[in-house]
Symmetry: C2
Subunit: 130 residues, 2 copies
């Protein structure tokens, strides 16, 4: 890994992911489960859990980088636009900085939907060469 | 909700949660799945995915606050200590600020393990009264 390296990975918020997330964590907030509630609040349908995107980040860091000996030290995300069921998202990530002395790397990322709208952006600090 | 309100909620990283997270998101990084790899890196056993804690935050925000009309705007977390399978964690959360004008609230939190060690801490900005 080196500063400036970029990565892209496609994810889809399938019914399997959505239902699986609810089964694992139990967040059945009406915004995520009640079509009528979501519409009343001005959305076209139920809104996916933002933390599904954090799960995608887990996969990206754990599985898509050129090295496996990585660990997330900190992570932040801003949710900009709602994400809906069956949306396809492209994660764009870039190595923003490498800190050789403390064996860590800062990665900035954003998720874009198929209409090329940025739905979320954030940063992850990872430890490398553990 | 008002500034200074505090909440506690207990979570357990059960095998069901751990396996469910892997099934949903596919992060099988060896740190999370290969006992030998984790031990080689100095851990007593495989380390749980940090984003399992973000899933717990989703549950807390969606299900444990006094109002259901909430939505996460942004979220950050620092992982301080590794979390292991079957660990029980207590989430301590506090309303740090209420921004009436923009109908949002900032919540700070930390997770403590049964040895009273803080394993992670962070902040969530939520929208309320949507």
């Amino acid at each position: 890994m080196k500063k400036g390296d970029t990565y892209k990975h496609q994810f889809k918020v399938t019914a399997e992911v959505y239902k699986g997330f609810i089964n694992v964590f139990g967040d059945k907030n009406p915004m995520h489960t009640d079509e009528g509630f979501a519409k009343e609040k001005g959305f076209p349908s139920i809104v996916m859990h933002g933390n599904i995107l954090n799960g995608f980040i887990s996969y990206f860091i754990g599985e898509c980088l050129p090295q496996k000996n990585v660990m997330i030290y900190s992570q932040s995300i801003d949710f900009k636009k709602p994400v809906f069921l069956n949306e396809e998202l492209v994660l764009h990530a870039e190595i923003e900085d490498i800190f050789e002395s403390v064996k860590s790397a800062e990665i900035k990322f954003y998720f874009e939907n198929s209409a090329n709208v940025k739905v979320a952006k954030g940063k992850v600090l990872i430890g490398t060469n553990l």
